[in-house]
């Protein structure tokens, strides 16, 4: 890949080939094998690593399989058992709760931040850097710090104590555990959404604002009638990603909720799949849980896309 021969240099080859063959666009004879050559790795990947496995997961979900003995066909038994499994239902509830809270709150905060950061002021580059730092750091390391922040003698409890509020157990408290993890995730997820909103804001033509100013529209009015409507495509886009990302929450939960035995309070769908498949080697059960998760995300995404016409303004 590194050292290529000079023979193929198109500029040098120019003089050798007087024959002016085809030019312009459109399919050309003999291109088929080139297409195949360029696409081969991606095609194999699509078939063997994504599309195929999605179907395979469904097949496996119809079996009972510990990977040691031969798989046993059990029909929809795994699905029926999952719907009666308290741990799975708890994981489902937790994941939905996580999504329903973290997505709207996270996006609203990000939108506000982006509006504030979208300013031509000195030093903005430095401030932006500070905001974006959590983005590049692993959720594992971040979760460790937050574990410390939430610890009994940690900063958060110190602040509470200083204010005369009793210390809380946060991630160790069944009711506060999930909100604590959500708060951390919102904090970490903020920068990515802010960057997308900033890009959206900068794509709004300045002429719109100028025209609105001439018409006497104030700051509030410009925000409501120009900025927000024109930002809806970005909002829609980040919404999809946040929704799908929220359903996949795992790292934070794994680290924060005492690895090995996260209490029921914080178990999520992906944690459940991980536990069933790769700790207990119930492949069929894990496969069925994956398919239920897949269906929920698919339905949620489709419903979300359906709402598009009602509130997204494409310019």
């Amino acid at each position: 890949m590194t050292s290529t021969s000079r023979v193929g240099d198109p500029v040098r080859a120019a003089t050798k080939r007087p024959a002016r063959t085809r030019s312009g666009r459109g399919p050309r004879a003999g291109e088929g094998r080139w297409v195949l050559l360029f696409l081969a790795p991606a095609l194999i990947g699509l078939a063997v690593l994504s599309a195929g496995p999605i179907l395979a997961t469904f097949g496996i979900s119809l079996t009972k399989w510990d990977m040691l003995t031969a798989p046993q066909f059990v029909g929809l038994d795994n699905y029926a058992r999952l719907l009666g499994d308290d741990r799975f239902l708890k994981a489902l509830r937790n994941t939905v709760f996580y999504t329903v809270v973290s997505v709207p709150v996270g996006l609203t905060l990000a939108l506000g931040l982006a509006l504030a950061l979208n300013q031509q002021i000195r030093g903005i580059a430095w401030i932006r850097t500070a905001y974006f730092l959590p983005l590049v750091t692993s959720a594992t390391a971040i979760a460790l710090v937050w574990l410390w922040i939430y610890s009994p003698t940690g900063p958060l409890n110190d602040i509470l104590a200083a204010l005369g509020i009793p210390r809380q157990r946060w991630v160790a408290d069944p009711t506060l555990a999930m909100p604590s993890i959500i708060a951390m995730s919102i904090w970490q997820g903020l920068p990515a959404n802010v960057i997308i909103f900033l890009a959206g804001l900068q794509a709004i033509p300045a002429e719109y604002y100028d025209a609105a100013s001439v018409d006497g529209a104030g700051r509030q009015k410009r925000l409501r009638n120009i900025t927000l409507p024109l930002l809806t495509p970005s909002l829609f886009f980040t919404g999809v990603l946040a929704l799908i990302g929220a359903f996949q929450v795992f790292d934070q939960v794994y680290v924060m909720a005492n690895p090995g035995k996260p209490g029921e309070a914080t178990i999520t769908l992906v944690y459940f799949i991980y536990e069933a498949g790769f700790r207990n080697f119930k492949m069929g059960y894990a496969g069925a849980a994956s398919w239920i998760m897949f269906l929920i995300v698919a339905v949620a995404t489709i419903v979300y896309f359906r709402t598009q016409d009602r509130w997204v303004h494409y310019q």
Binding site: A13, L39, S50
Partner: protein, 303 residues
């Protein structure tokens, strides 16, 4: 911006307006700096806690500065686990992330080139199919992929298959990927086809056009993809957790999570470990900020 302020100035009451503007600007600065601090404080705590003694962590206020700089916490963290150092985890992470990045750069750019320059039957459907994998939660393929790797032979491993080796963590990258293909295709589409036409007239074949015209011109997009894939691989926890079995094969994330399970309450060492593990990514971010911003804008990033 300038046009607007000139027009506003015509109104006649310029002084109060600019005074209000200054006040508003000051308030904005304060809010932005406060927000910036809120984003930075966890990192600050990570640093101060990593430099305290364990006794200090519990006896003094967490918000305080350490009394002395206990760098030995870093040494303790580095050598805390039996038989391996944190350096081993670093090395493993670097190998995996580099190979995954290399694979994505090669195969995504190839696929992107095919989608950008060729016309062929089923092109739209295929591209849509690849894009669709972007919005499918990848956990759906965890089980079959695990089974696949379980049956792929690898004589050098203890299990005789790919489980327990780092192969499942980077070999996939040599088989394309939705994010990279999309990102690079968008970029390739902006390259004028006249360049390719000229090269073709000169007798270059599609591979030569790809290597000599498209790849060199797409360096900024390739850099974006490289940085993102490296970061994703570096920060990934679930896959290494599933496939890696022995301590010496762990990546920094798994090492850190394992560390946390083993050393409950040893906050200074744990914070030192967390800080060291994220240092490479922070440096990469500071060096290549603009590529990060471009990549996120295009893709969204996970989470």
């Amino acid at each position: 911006m300038t046009v607007r302020s000139v027009k506003l100035g015509v109104g006649g009451h310029a002084p109060p307006r600019s005074a209000r503007k200054i006040a508003r600007r000051t308030g904005l600065y304060l809010a932005l700096v406060a927000g910036g601090l809120a984003m930075m404080i966890p990192f600050f705590w990570m640093l101060t806690t990593s430099l305290k003694t364990r006794a200090e962590v519990f006896s003094t206020a967490p918000l305080s500065f350490p009394t002395g700089l206990h760098w030995e916490n870093y040494a303790k963290m580095w050598f805390a686990l039996p038989g391996v150092t944190f350096g081993t985890f670093f090395q493993n992470s670097i190998v995996i992330a580099s190979l995954a990045t290399l694979g994505q750069l090669i195969t995504c750019s190839m696929a992107a080139y095919a989608f950008a320059v060729f016309e062929f039957r089923g092109k739209r459907v295929l591209f849509a199919l690849i894009l669709a994998t972007l919005i499918i939660p990848f956990q759906i393929v965890l089980v079959p992929n695990f089974i696949l790797y379980r049956y792929l032979p690898f004589p050098l491993s203890e299990s005789g298959n790919w489980i327990g080796t780092n192969l499942p963590l980077w070999v996939w990258a040599f088989f394309g990927g939705a994010f990279g293909t999309f990102l690079l295709r968008q970029f390739f589409l902006t390259i004028p086809s006249e360049l390719a036409d000229a090269a073709r007239v000169d007798g270059a074949n599609p591979w030569q056009i790809f290597r000599k015209v498209y790849v060199p011109l797409a360096m900024p997009a390739l850099a974006t993809l490289a940085i993102f894939q490296f970061m994703w691989s570096w920060n990934d926890l679930l896959d290494p957790l599933i496939y890696l079995r022995d301590l010496p094969t762990y990546t920094t994330t798994v090492g850190l999570a394992f560390f946390q399970g083993q050393f409950v309450g040893k906050w200074p060492e744990m914070m030192a470990g967390a800080l060291v593990s994220l240092l490479p990514m922070v440096i990469l971010f500071l060096v290549a900020q603009k590529y990060f911003v471009r990549g996120i804008t295009l893709s969204g990033l996970k989470g």
